[in-house]
Symmetry: C2
Subunit: 276 residues, 2 copies
């Protein structure tokens, strides 16, 4: 084995992750938990959030700007940690760098886990309208029955911090009561905010229904790419965790620090940036 | 009276109104109701909504871009129909054109209507943080007691269309129960979305408490400026009603058509525009 091959086995560059707001932190949390030896840079496009109510063209334009920004920070891979943005990022590579979305691994995990082939997808209006989960799941399990439900209030409830709350339970019941009667066994949390209110969703369906978290799904995908050496690991244990925001927000900094504290003791560096 | 003076008495140019989203339509509705002979152009910055969670600098930058856009459409006056934006627009003229915000007339109306000088202000986190209502009301009534309450879920509830709904009543009760015990007699709806869920707010306080709607307050201010000829009226009854959006949205078009239908039978022209 020569020196060149050795040097190719490790890659100290950070993994880039982006979302419009706090939702993608649930994905970052799963990645930091799974890969504590990696450097991460997270971009939260807080100046233009939320993406869920915006048109396809606008979401694509913003996503491309975000990816260019991450490339300027020399990332080795990019994760589109937002379902709405994932419906508009069609590239699996961007400027020769691998791009992961949350819909492909989420769909694959749901298809692998369902026993009765009855799956529900919960997401923002934009993601449901794009129909990506239904298409991806049908590509793997053509005879699966896939039901969809837009839940527009889940994002503001998650951002308000009413995670385990009777009002959140009531709203979850309002959105999901029709699905509950449909004998589904697997529910895709098709918005990265939704893991924050997982317990309210689980309460409506009961414990026999399994919830698919995109963050866990994408971490499994990346683990597999590290094993096959498609992606190279970092070898240095002195890691960095950077959060760049397009609009400074104390509320965001507090909430993300709180969400990441249980999985990492690395000091988070916050920075305000422009991506235009 | 010569021809020149005659021509100055009327002004056919439209009145420009802007907000980040659907909220400002409640202001437009009051203006259209009060001045059916005027032309209006409404700008909804839907590509960057909501403003309530963004920083002061960002909200100011967006507001200036919106005002420049309205100027490019040759308006005779501009109304900042968004409380968050009103906290960051300090100009009473922009390129020689009068600018109205919603905070000054809302504060004046609340100060005029209160009997016991106990007033509550309900608004987004950003508006409450800016403290503008408290300052303006104190400038008129220095001994007034002004309490504030941020209600972040009211905007998404209004946008979801759950206007007269038990869940909205419950959330209103959660946010407002402490205020209810404070013997206030006047409540400022310090966000232009809030008139859409007025009935839930009124239910918490009871009918003896008066709610101040910024749209009504700004219409009174403009009426007074028409009477003093500070602003010139339009003389033509063949009017136009234009809604320009920075991001196309079918949901927005439906909701705004529905809100304006009871006050105007003028056909609304929708247009997608860029303000950057």
């Amino acid at each position: 084995m020569n020196l060149k091959t050795d040097s190719l086995e490790f890659d100290a560059r950070p993994i880039g992750v982006f979302d419009s707001g706090i939702g993608g932190i649930t994905v970052l949390r799963e990645l930091v938990k799974a890969f504590p030896e990696e450097n991460f840079i997270y971009l939260g496009d807080t100046a233009r959030l939320p993406y869920g109510s915006k048109s396809a063209e606008t979401v694509r334009k913003y996503s491309l700007q975000n990816m260019k920004f991450l490339m300027s920070r020399d990332v080795k891979a990019m994760i589109v940690a937002c379902n709405t943005a994932s419906t508009q990022v069609f590239e699996d590579h961007f400027e020769n760098t691998p791009v992961y979305n949350v819909i492909d691994p989420g769909s694959a995990l749901a298809a692998a886990k369902t026993l009765n082939k009855k799956i529900a997808v919960l997401a923002t209006r934009a993601t449901i309208k794009a129909g990506s989960y239904v298409k991806k799941i049908h590509a793997i399990l053509p005879d699966a029955e896939v039901l969809s439900q837009a839940c527009p209030l889940f994002v503001p409830l998650a951002e308000e911090g009413w995670h385990d709350d009777p009002i959140t339970n009531l709203i979850a019941f309002r959105y999901l009561q029709n699905l509950k009667t449909s004998d589904i066994d697997t529910v895709v949390l098709g918005c990265t905010h939704y893991p924050l209110i997982k317990s309210a969703i689980q309460k409506v369906f009961g414990n026999h229904v399994q919830l698919i978290d995109s963050g866990e799904a994408v971490a499994l995908q990346i683990k597999s790419d590290f094993l096959s050496q498609k992606l190279k690991r970092n070898s240095n244990r002195d890691v960095s965790l950077m959060i760049a925001l397009t609009d400074s927000s104390e509320h965001f900094e507090n909430l993300s620090s709180q969400l990441l504290a249980p999985v990492s003791d690395t000091k988070i560096c916050f920075e305000t940036v422009s991506v235009i």
